[in-house]
Structures are given as C-alpha cells and as structure tokens.
Amino acid sequence: MNELFNLAPLILVFPIIGVLFNGLVGRRFVDHDRKTGERWSGWFATIMALSAFVVVVLLNLALHANHFHAETVMLWDWIVIPGQGLSIPWAMQIDTLSVAMMLVVTGVGSIIHIYSIGYMHGDPDYSRYFAYLNLFLFFMLILVAGNNYLVLFVGWEGVGLCSYLLIGFWHERLAKDGTMKNANAARKAMIANRVGDAAMILGIILTFWVFGSVEFNHVFEEAIHIFESHEEMVTLVSTNIEMAFSTALFAITVLFLIAATGKSAQLVLHVWLPDAMAGPTPASSLIHAATMVTSGIYLIVRSNVLYELSRALSVHSGTISSSDIVALVGASTALYAGLIAFTQYDIKKVLAYSTVSQLGFMIAAAGMGAYVAAMFHLITHAFFKALLFMGAGSVIHGMEHGHHEVAHGHHGHDDDGFDPQDMRYMGGLRKLMPVTFWTYLVGALALAGIFPFAGFWSKDEILAHANANQGEYGLFLVLFILLALAAVCTAFYMGRQLRMVFWGQPRHEAARHAHESSPIMTFPLVLLAVFGTVAGLFNLPKVLTLEFGWSLTLEHWLEHSIQTFELMEEGILAHVPHTPTSLIVEVAALSLGLALVSMGLAFYVYRDKPKTAADPDPTQKIPGLWSVFGRLPIDSFYMKLLVPWFNRFSAWLGFKFEWSFWHDFFHERVIRDTFVWFADLSANVLDAQGVDGIVNGLGSVTRWLADGIRVSQTGYARTYALSVFLGTVVLLIYFLWPYVMR
C-alpha cells in the first residue's frame, strides 16, 4: 500500500480544524476587528478546504501509483458486538469513485469558499457561516469516503444537518406576509429529508439482515455469491425468517432509491430544494447544486452491483426491476422540474428547478446502467451549476447595490415590493456586469447542452446510452423521449433567463444602477467558467471511431471501482446496458439541434417581453403550463391535502385521544382513581393496622430484648467473668462432643 494513503484521515482533520477555529474563536476575531477578523475567519476556512483538496490530489496520485486499486484505510473499530457477527469499522475506502467525488467536493468547495469571502462580507454571523461550510465539507467527505453504509449514513445525516443550518442561516428573516420564510424552508428540507432518511435506515438494516454486513465490498461479494449460486431464498441474519432473494434485493434497492429521492430532490420528495434557496447563495451553490444533492446519485452508483443484479433477476422473471424504477423516477423528475422552471421568476428558483431536473438526468442515467455517464454529468454539472449559482449571486449582489444607490438618491422610493432576485426587475445587465455575464453565458450554454461546453458531452452520453439500448430494453425509448424533452425544456428556460436578465432594457431603477461585483467574487466565476468549458474532456467519446489520447478518461478511471464492469467481463452478468464509446452523430446532432432551436425560440419569444415588471409572461398563453406546473402540483398536494389532514389527525390525537381519552378518562378515572382507592386501602387499612402493627411490634420486641440484655450488664466484674466462663464451657462442649460420643 502506498504510504500516501495514510494521509486519508487528513481530509477529515482539516475541515474539522476549520470548524473548531470558526466555531470557537472566529466570532471574537470578527467582532474585535471587522476587517482583519473577516480576513482571518474566511481565509482560515478556505485554507482548510484547500488543504483537504491538496490531500485529495495526493490520494489521487497514490491511486495512480497503486494502479487504481482501491485501498481501505482502517481508522478504528466502531460498532462491534462480539458473538453476533456485527463488526462495523470506521474505515475509509479510497477508490477511484470516492476520490472522484472528493475532488469535486473539495475542488468546487474551495472555489466556493473563496467566493464566500466576498459574498458574506459584512454579515454579522460571518464566522458562523464559515464554520458551517467547513462542517459541511467534513460530513460530505465522511459520506463519500466511508467504506460501509453506516459511515455513509453518518455523513448523510451530517450534510443534512449542515443543509438545514445553512438554509436557515438567516432564520430571523421574514417573508413579506410575515411568515418565517427561511426558518420554514429549513424545516421543510429537514422534514422531506427525514422521509428519505427513514428509508435509508430501513435499507441499511435490511442489507445487514440479508448479507450480514454493511461494508460495501462484503455486501457486494455476498450478493454476487448468492446470485451465482442461484439460491432463491435467503435467511435473514440472526433470525429464522426466510425471504426471496429477488424480493430482498428489490426492497433494499427501492429503499435506497427513496433515500436518494430525499437527498437528491427527486419526485416526490423534491419540494424542499427550491425553498432551500432561502440560504446564502454560495451555500446553495455548494450544497444544493454541486455536491450534497448528488449524494443520492453517489449512493446508487456505489450500489451499482445491487441494482444490476436486480435488473438481471427481473430480466429473468419479466417483472419491473428497481433499476427501471430508478430510471423512470429520474426521467420524470427531469421533465417535470424542467417544465416548472418555465414558470419561475426568481433567478435562483429557476436554477433550483434546473438542478432538480439535472439530478433527474443523473438518476435516470444510473437507473439505465450508465454509471459512468451519471458520474460524468454529476461532475460537469457540479462545475457549471456552481458557476450559475454564483453568477446569480453576483447578479443579486449587483441588484442589491443598485437598489441601495437608488434608495439613497430618491427618498421614499422603497415601497414598490422590489425583490433583487426577481428576473422581472432585471434586464440589460450584460453591459453593467460584463464578467458575470460572460461567465454566466458559459454556464448557461453548458447547462443547455450546447457544443462544445461540458454539459453537451455529459448529457449527450446519457441520451446516447438511452438510445443505444432501446432495442433490448423497451422502456429506454420512453426514457429517451422524456429526457430529450427535458433537454429541450432546459435550453428554453435558460434562454428565457439569459434574455430576461442580461438583454433588453432594465425594467427597474435598481437594474440601471447595478454594477460588477468585486474580484474576489468574479475570480471564482472565471475559474469555474474554464472548467465549465473544458470539463467535457474528462470523458470525451471516441469521435468517428478515432481514438484520441484524451477520450473516455473517466470511464477508464471509474471502471476500477464500478464492479458491474468486472461482472460483465467475467460473464456473471450477461444483460447490462452498454454505453456507446464513440460519439453517435445522430443523437448528438439531434440533441444539439433541439437545444439550439429551443434556446433560439426562447430568445425570440422573450425578445421584447415582458416590457415592464408588471407584464405577463408570454408563455402563459400555452394552455396548461402555468395553470398546472406554475401552481407546483406536488407542493399544492402536500399543502392542501396532506398537511391539513395531518394537522387534523394530530389535533385529534392531541386533544381527543391524548387529552380527553388518555389523560382525562384513562389516567384520571381509571388509573388515578383506582390507585387512590388502593392507596387508601393500603394506607389506612393494610398499613396502619397491619404492617405498622408488625413493624411497631418488631421495634418493641427489639427494644424489649435490648432492655433485657442490658440488665445483664451489671457492672460487676464477676458477672463478666462468669459470662466468659460459660462461653468457654459451651465452646468446650461443642468441640469435645464428637470425642465424648465416640
């Protein structure tokens, strides 16, 4: 094992040092001297993130030296129950998959740290923010580095906590109608994630029951073993319960899918992510676009063996496999969220629904067996979506500054319900914020899938995969259509957004006075724009059967940790959908053409509309779009049906069942009165007359005995000598009795 692997724990140590620094003393620094304090607080956290990044790069080198073979770094035994076969180590699995995730997390994370230094400037809770950000890195790295499901779950819950804390970072801010908007958004995220997390726990428990371990490698080996031996039934560990293997596998994988829908905001648990935009924009960018929300994809890709076995078993039996469900959920989410994005005015909410949609792409890819494509899209998406969010942050910053200037110039001009995030107030920012504009343009083109930006390559690979396998899997045609439509939507709403924000005339005074953000914010934008442009190189397909040295890097890299490839080669798995390795020109041309047309259409439709902030949106003419998707059907379902009924049920439980029945009737009447009756009986009858009598009697006897013995204490030495003498005689009799009797 390469010695560099021993550095692995450092990726957790650095962020936690940052947490301790900013959590314990950061605030004192900042309060003492704002300027230097911010510098210390922000840069300390950033340097910790960068240090973690450097360590990850070293781990990457170590993997190279190790010929890409995975290594497990044992830290300590965590949960051990001897005799029950339960031994869960706290260990880190360093393989190409986890390192790829770590590179994204620490790389994009570091850039966002730098951006935050500028963005959070002047915030009263500056150091708290950076403590949360470092804490997030810490948990996210636990999540991706763990070598078993339970450690993964620790990170899973930890990032959920950080997400909650950061969404509610400005928890005291109220909405215009006086509700606690940010705090509610944080709670919504927590509650939606709880549902997924419950499924995750059940999935882990079931995994342990079926396979006797929660360590990835053991679980997968055991699963393959059972699959190969064609055993129909498995016995759950420590029980006598038998379960069909296919059922068990199906249950585990579906539970993990539900977990992923929570964390990665898929139908029907996606509702929290758009609201999560209430948090600081860099946090949205890091957590709710680039990294945390992709952990669901990571979970599925990590469990690829289970999903592929499920697919193989269902091909056998002709039923629907959990992989198919995964792909369907992802593709539907992609289209559904893409349609909702049409109807949003908030610049960040458009991006949020876009994130939901793109996560749907990844989930769909994972469900179709295109694990590399899923990871590829995950990585490119991390770059350009982080870029877009931070660009949006820069725009919001600019709008706020503009509004500030206007408010200073014209007194009493502050009451028009201005919202710096509302695209209807923007317009023409192209000239005022050039760096933001150009970088944003790169991000938008990448997201829309325009050649040659990163998104084009990754999205195309997913579509090509769906296309290539539809002969063998009928469902893939449906998926292909859904995803292609989603891609059309993506191009359209991004065109709409570009047009509304950067072109045309400013629709508000604030937009007229907006100006470019500081270099500390624009520098990360440029950096990410570069990545957003060239990240496609990571997994360039072979073009026209020619192989370049660059092509399929990611696939070669990841095939060392995605066991499905191995199983394919060994012939254990016969039916695995293949991803085309070379560029399929028809599909590429189709997706590029659709994107270009769609984007052009958007530019045409929004060429001079809306003219003022009050004008209606042109797409409102499309029947059904605004009336169905604009009303957020699933949110409405939750709020109009589920929540009221839940509240009614809670009220019934609380007032009727708990209070009237359980407390008033059962406790007061049945238990209390019975108890009082019995206590009365035992105190006044049994105790006072019975027990007290006995106890007092015993006391009297003891006292009487004591008095009696005391009388023998005459004070005469002769009495005492007599006592000794008698004692001696008795002892002698006892000792000699056997000899006398003999």
Partner: protein, 493 residues
C-alpha cells in the same frame, strides 16, 4: 543440653525495634526534661511511627524470616500479611496522636508516658502480626495489653477510669490465662508451639481431643480481645470509663491485633480443624452481630454506643473468618480489608466524640450531638459520613468492606450468616443514623473543641473512607497479596 542461639536478623524486625526504641528513649528523656515541657513527646512518637512505617513498607514482598531456632522454623515472619497488619497498627497510632493532643491537654493528662505506652502497645500489636510461634503470640498479647491496662486508668483518681482499668486488667488476665492454657494443651498434643509445625503435626496425626480443647481455649482468648459475644461484657464498661482517645485506640488496635492472633491460629496452625471451628465462629458471629447491634440501640451514651458498635463490627469480621474456612483467600483478604476500612471510619467517629467531650465524662451523651450541624457544618458532615460508613451505605469504605465480606461468605455458601449480617446492618442504621438525625434536625448547645491537628486527622479519615468507597480495588488487591503470602504454605501444603 547444648544451647544454640537462634539466627537473628534485626533489620527484619526493625519496625518493632524502632517503636520500642522510641518508647524507651522517651522514658529516658522524660527524666531530664523540666515538668513544663511536654510537646516533644508527641513529635518523638510521631517520628518513631513514621520511621517504622517507612521501614515496614520497604520490606513489602520480601517474605523475610528471622529468629530461626534449631528446628529451622522461624519465630518471626515478615510476610505481606504481617506488613499489612503492621501498617494498619502504625496508621492507627499516627491517627490517634492528633486526636489525643487537645483532649489530653484539657483533661490534664498530657504526660509523655501516655505516648510511650501507646508506642509499647503498638509494638505488641505488631509482634502479634509477625508471630509464627504461639509463644510469641502470647508474648505479643501481653505486650499490647499491659500498656492498655495502664492507659485505661490514667485518669486516676477518677473512679470511672480506675474501675475501667481494674475490670480490663482482671478480665484480661483471666482470658490470658485461658489462652496460655490453650497453648499448653496444643503443645502437649503436638510437642511444638511453632505454627507451621503444629500444622504438620495435625496433618500427620490428625486431630484429637487435646488439640480441639486447646483450640477452644485459644478462641476464647482471642475472642476476648476482639470482644466477641459472650466474651464481650467488659467492653462497654471499659470503653466508657477509659479516656476517650484510649477507647478509640483500643477499639481499633486491640481488636485488629486480636483478629491477627485468631487468623494465625485458625488459618495457619489449625486449618485442618476448619470443619470444627467454622460452626463455632459462625455462631459466635451471629451472637455478636445480634447482641452488639440490638443493645447499641438502647444506649444513651455515645461511648457505650460505639462500644456495642465495635462489638457488632467484630461480628462482621467473624463472618469473614468463617468464610475463610471454605475460601481462605477471599475470607482472609476481606477480613483485612474490613479492618483497614474500619480503622478510618471508627477513629473518625471517635475523633468527633473526643472533640465533643468538654471535660472528662461531660458531653458524652447522644443528646449532646443535637444541633451540631448548624455550628460545625463540615465536621458534622464528616460525622454523618462516618455514620453512613459504619452502617454500610455506599459510597463509603464501610460499604466496600461489607460488600467484600458478604461476597466471601456467599462464595463460602454461608447464606444464613449473610442474611443475619444484612438484617443487623439494617438495625444498625437505626442507632447510627440517629446521630445524624440529632445533629441535623434539632437545636442544641453542643460545642466542638477542635484543634487543627484533630480537624486534619478527621479530614484525612473522611477522605480515606471516601476513597475506599469509590476505588476499593487498589486496597483489595493489596489485601489479596497479603493473604497470598500468608497462606502460601496452605496452598503449597
């Protein structure tokens, strides 16, 4: 008959020699000191005790033997058992000195001979622990007893003190006579007084009526010293009449020495007779527990109450002795633990009694404890803690001790004895906690007269009791080692 001098190594008996030398030196110095100067004696005694303690500890794990006559069996053994007991006696002495000082001053008793007699008595106790020959046991018994007779009567011409001394002397002589008769009978049966040789003789020829008669007499002698029922009747009178510090010293030192003799005789000389003596010890224990605890309830005088309490505690240690018949290591080590824990708790309680006694015999009633908690919160707290420890409530040394003793008895399957021990512990709560009740729930006039030395000693004892309550394992391991070194003959034989 040719006389060959025994093989002697004085370094091994140095702890005893240091004590005796300090005592003798004090006697000589006193001749040349003017009457007004008396403070030196305290320091001489304390330094002597400390030196002896240091030398004693240095001998740990040595398993030395000396005074080896022709037959090759040493009369004095310095095994860990002896060293542990020696440490117990020396600590007793070291703690009694600070308790005595101010009491002696206010009762006009401050004489150098008090401390010198204390030292001589301790030297006897130590000899008892080291003795490997019944003759030496008897010698030690006398050396420890005679200074005590004198100390009990040191408050002459007060009649109570003289009565105490006289009774103790008369009955002590009576029991000593029985004890020496027991030695004679054993010698008659085995033709030796050396403990290992007695063991060998019994192993070779078995028991006979003569030996068991001797055993009965030896038990009576030791039973008298430890105040086991029915050989206990002197205890309340002597404890009440003697100067209180002397009572404190007797209640701990003499009792432990008595048990040392008993353990030597029962465990090392006559373990083969354990089938005979175990029932006798258990019955003695039962009687002692019941009488001691029950009668203590009706005492109005704190010294008499503590006298019965000390009888009762002898009963608990006798449980351990009975358990040792079946389970030597657990029984003996739990007895050693009990005595060590009892040392701190009981001396602590007596420290408070001494502080409360204004003048000889005044302030010795239980009612004098009323309302002390308001005026002396810390010392009252300590007293309450000692009472809890004597009752055996955790976390106290007394609890740990009872825990080990009962544990040993359960291992030896003496369930009924444990049952009696537990029941009498509950009874003992009545009179111990009454002291707490009186201190905290009533108003009263009582005042404590305390010097810094006494406060310090009480503090040390309270902390020790607490430590033994919380972390008993350390000491228990020591007692186990001590037991091991004494019973290694048994294990080997």
């Amino acid at each position: 008959m040719e006389f060959t001098p025994p093989e002697i190594n004085l370094l091994i008996v140095a702890p005893v020699l240091i004590i005796m030398a300090a005592g003798s030196l004090g006697m000589v110095i006193d001749l040349f000191m003017p009457d007004g100067k008396k403070g030196w004696a305290v320091w001489l005694a304390a330094i002597g005790l400390l030196l002896a303690l240091a030398q004693n500890i240095a001998l740990w794990n040595g398993n030395y033997e000396t005074f080896i006559p022709q037959n090759g069996v040493a009369m004095v053994v310095m095994d860990n058992f002896a060293i542990f007991l020696n440490a117990t006696f020396l600590l007793t002495g070291l703690l009694v000195i600070p308790l005595s000082r101010s009491y002696l001053q206010r009762t006009g008793l401050e004489k150098p001979e008090y401390y010198m007699l204390l030292l001589f008595s301790i030297s006897g106790m130590m000899l008892m622990g080291m003795a490997n020959d019944l003759i030496l046991v008897f010698l030690a018994l006398e050396v420890l007893s005679i200074p005590l007779y004198i100390m009990c009567g040191m408050l002459w011409p007060r009649p109570e003190s003289e009565e105490s001394a006289m009774k103790y002397f008369l009955l002590g002589a009576f029991s000593s006579a029985i004890f020496v008769f027991g030695i004679a009978l054993v010698y008659g049966a085995t033709t030796t007084t050396a403990i290992p040789l007695i063991f060998d003789a019994v192993a070779a020829n078995g028991l006979n009526a003569m030996i068991v008669t001797g055993l009965a007499f030896l038990m009576v002698g030791a039973g008298f010293k430890v105040a086991a029922v029915p050989f206990h009747m002197w205890t309340p009178d002597v404890y009440e009449g003697a100067p209180t510090p002397v009572t404190a010293f007797m209640s701990v030192g003499a009792k432990i020495a008595g048990f040392a003799a008993l353990l030597r005789v029962l465990m090392l000389a006559l373990p083969q007779a354990s089938g005979e003596w175990v029932t006798a010890v258990a019955v003695l224990s039962t009687l002692t527990l019941i009488i001691g605890n029950v009668v203590a309830i009706r005492q109005g005088n704190i010294k008499r109450m503590l006298a019965y309490s000390s009888i009762a505690h002898a009963g608990y240690i006798l449980i351990a002795v009975a358990a040792a018949a079946d389970n030597p290591s657990a029984g003996v080590s739990s007895a050693l633990f009990y005595m060590f824990a009892y040392l701190f708790t009981n001396l602590g309680a007596f420290g408070m009694v001494i502080a409360l006694e204004r003048n000889y015999g005044e302030g010795n009633l239980l009612d004098d404890f009323k309302g002390l908690a308001k005026r002396h919160p810390w010392l009252s707290l300590a007293m309450a803690y000692f009472m809890l420890s004597l009752t055996g409530i955790p976390p106290t040394g007394g609890f740990s001790a009872k825990f080990y003793v009962f544990g040993a008895a359960i291992e030896a399957e003496l369930y009924w004895l444990v049952l009696i021990g537990v029941i009498t512990s509950v009874i003992s709560g009545y009179y111990y906690l009454r002291v707490v009740y009186l201190m905290y729930m009533f108003d009263g006039e009582g005042q404590l007269i305390t010097g810094r030395a006494l406060q310090f000693a009480v503090f040390v004892m309270a902390i020790s009791t607490l430590v033994l309550g919380l972390f008993p394992e350390g000491l228990f391991n020591l007692t186990a080692e001590a037991t091991l070194s004494a019973t290694r003959l048994l294990a080997g034989g």
